[in-house]
């Protein structure tokens, strides 16, 4: 597939590296409680306004699902209304087509520099590399994206791209890029670093010929893009350059402005705990002749890149995703490894579902297993996507497409056969728990388990009391 090369096949190897990376582990340990506390605050403010999370999320999921049910119709409506307001609407099948369209636009309009506000689709397309190859300089302007661009790394989180970086690392990157000596930094210096980025990036905003943004939503009613940001870079990128290009997935349409209002009660609260993000911009068409600011030309690029294939399948609910990041913020696997271990654009539970679906099941074999099954992600998702169930569905597909190792597939078949024969199953499990109990070291643990040594490589296997669940259950019922 074209676009960003997936490294998702190396999940296990990368997981080992990430676990051993002390700096990364420190950054993750600091970040997790902040993320969860922020969402909690957001949920408290919902409740204070008499809104019930479950009720609101049912409404949000229904809006997103209604669009998916008739996605072709909604896209055509959006397209017609956007064009009526003077925007151009282009379509791209995959990342390579996105890059080609943008490079062509840049050539046609003699573009030398591009300022970008966050667009995950441009990551999918590896657009920056394509622009550089065409002699156009892309400048990421979201502070987190700017930091990872300086580090020449992909983002490690969909709303906090540089969550894996410490302040010392940021200072070193800035020092090298901005030509100043490195300094020892403390948390109290964070405002100074943000100020430094503001001052470096301001002239870039003013000089850019083209602004590229994503869109949180496309509004069919008005042919508009909705952009939700805190830094103001989204506003600058879409106001100052003469050409504005919106790159977004085809699933991002919502019907009305009222639907935007409903989704906006959940998106910032789920993402950063804010009641509303600092800037919500509703952008429609181009500037009129008597206006002093705004782009002369607005181009929408609607991208499929594998999404159409999910429609009508058991994985369709994944297309409801509004990219809030709550699932990864509440994921024990994500916070053990960070986002880079997942190997492609999207990390955490939503990435574990999306990456195999968009890049190929055989290209991301471990991701559907990167879960403890705790369902925290499913609990917090503002559009009610059953993430663990979708991961289980992907595992089943792996089994059927013979993508798992032969031994594993065989073991699963044997288990399936046994599970349909309760008497035999009970008799065997009885024997097995006794055997495990006998193997244990007297403190209820197995240190090295010869049958599956990988299991006990990094931890002990805890062992129960030597009686099977069925036995314990029966005993309990007798009491």
């Amino acid at each position: 597939m074209a676009g960003m090369r997936s490294q998702a096949m190396h999940f296990q190897a990368r997981a080992g590296q990430k676990l051993a990376d002390e700096v990364l582990q420190g950054a993750l340990r600091r970040a997790q409680p902040l993320f969860t506390a922020k969402r909690q605050k957001g949920m408290a403010s919902l409740a204070a306004d008499g809104l019930d999370f479950g009720h609101l999320r049912a409404a949000a999921a229904a809006i997103r699902q209604a669009v998916l049910d008739d996605l072709d119709v909604w896209l055509e409506l959006f397209e017609a209304r956007a064009k009526a307001r003077g925007a151009e609407v282009l379509w791209a099948r995959d990342g390579a087509e996105v890059s080609q369209l943008v490079v062509d636009l840049a050539r046609r309009h003699a573009v030398r520099t591009v300022t970008k506000s966050k667009s995950m689709l441009s990551e999918e397309a590896a657009l920056n590399a394509a622009l550089l190859a065409a002699g156009v300089r892309p400048v990421e302007t979201d502070l987190g994206e700017y930091i990872v661009q300086l580090a020449d790394e992909p983002p490690s989180h969909i709303i906090a791209p540089a969550v894996h970086k410490t302040i010392a690392q940021v200072d070193a990157l800035f020092a090298d890029a901005h030509g100043r000596p490195r300094q020892t930094r403390h948390s109290s210096d964070i405002p100074a670093l943000a100020r430094e980025a503001r001052e470096i990036l301001r002239p870039q905003f003013l000089a850019a010929d083209m602004g590229i943004s994503g869109a949180n939503f496309l509004v069919a009613e008005t042919g508009s893009a909705v952009l939700v940001t805190n830094e103001g870079n989204g506003r600058l990128v879409t106001t100052l350059p003469r050409l504005h290009v919106v790159i977004t997935g085809i699933e991002k349409v919502v019907p009305t402005l009222e639907d935007v209002a409903t989704l906006l009660r959940l998106l910032p609260r789920s993402a950063t705990g804010q009641d509303i993000s600092n800037y919500v911009s509703l952008l429609t068409g181009t500037k009129s002749a008597d206006e002093s600011d705004g782009p002369d030309q607005t181009v929408f690029i609607l991208v499929d890149n594998g999404r159409a294939g999910l429609l009508g399948s058991e994985f369709e609910p994944m297309l409801r995703c509004i990219r809030c990041g709550a699932c990864m913020n509440h994921c024990p696997v994500y916070f053990s490894l960070g986002g880079h271990a997942y190997g492609w654009v999207y990390p955490g539970p939503m990435g574990s579902v999306l990456t195999p679906l968009l890049t190929g099941l055989d290209q991301a074999l471990d991701l559907p297993w990167a879960s403890t099954g705790c369902n925290q992600c499913g609990e917090v998702c503002p559009v009610d996507i059953p993430l663990p169930a979708l991961m289980r569905g992907l595992r089943e597909r792996q089994q059927h497409q013979q993508l798992r190792p032969r031994g594993e597939r065989w073991a699963r078949r044997v288990w399936g056969w046994l599970a349909l024969r309760p008497r035999l199953y009970r008799w065997l499990t009885r024997g097995l728990v006794r055997y495990l109990h006998w193997l244990a070291d007297g403190q209820g643990r197995i240190r090295i388990f010869g049958l599956v040594p990988g299991w006990t490589a990094g931890r002990d296997l805890p062992v129960g009391p030597g009686r099977s669940f069925h036995e314990l259950y029966a005993a309990r019922k007798r009491d």
Partner: protein, 216 residues
């Protein structure tokens, strides 16, 4: 096949449901209905709620009785914060007698060198303490964007409860949307370094509101 035709064909193959004409009509009907989702229960005093939420968003808020007091209120804010006496304002505010308070105000779009931008707003939203600014020849978007300090004049009678109410007002008074509708809630901020929120990213670092009309 063009990418457009290809993608739409794939989508049509996947969506079940009735024929296209019926589905199109249903979509159009949904647009016309403009149904609202679950609504918040807000306190009756919209002005107070707006003020509280704006302050929670790190805005500063002042109140004056009428438009005649605006220049003095702006001048006193600028003086307190040592921000000089020069500002840029949106052209729709040209009729205000800025010079009466010793201010030198240019009414035009803002440029990078401008330190203070003064604008009005289309309306304000009590639920979240948000300003709604429309772009236009008389209200260029740069004034609320480029300067480090943004002063907004808010007519108390134009405070609505929710974003839905703001959209209803917008439809009633303007019909179609202007190029940019910007919902602004406090000064720009970033949490991208160690998840620590700092005020003043790429947009204004200070947002000061002057509420105009009867005080609480």
């Amino acid at each position: 096949m063009s990418a457009r035709a290809d993608i739409l064909a794939r989508l049509r193959g996947a969506v079940a449901g009735s024929d296209r004409v019926t589905r199109q009509a249903a979509a159009e009907a949904r647009l016309l209905a403009a149904a609202r989702g679950p609504q918040p229960v807000l306190p009756p005093d919209g002005r107070l709620r707006f003020q509280q939420r704006a302050v929670a968003q790190a805005c500063t808020v002042d109140a004056v009785a009428g438009w005649a007091s605006v220049p003095a209120a702006v001048a006193s804010y600028l003086e307190t914060h040592d921000l000089g006496t020069v500002a840029v304002a949106t052209p729709d505010l040209a009729a205000i007698d800025w010079a009466s308070a010793g201010l030198r105000v240019a009414c035009r779009g803002a440029v990078d060198a401008d330190q203070v931008g003064i604008s009005g707003c289309f309306c304000a939203i009590a639920e979240t303490g948000t300003l709604l600014l429309l772009s236009g020849p008389q209200t260029p978007a740069t004034v609320s964007l480029l300067p480090e300090t943004h002063v907004t004049l808010v007519d108390s009678r134009r405070i609505v409860a929710t974003m839905e109410d703001a959209f209803a007002l917008l439809r009633a008074e303007h019909g179609q949307l202007p190029r940019a509708v910007n919902f602004v809630s406090g000064p720009s901020r970033t949490g991208d370094i160690e998840q620590t929120i700092v005020l003043g990213a790429h947009g204004p670092c200070r947002v000061h509101l002057i509420l105009i009309g009867e005080t609480v």
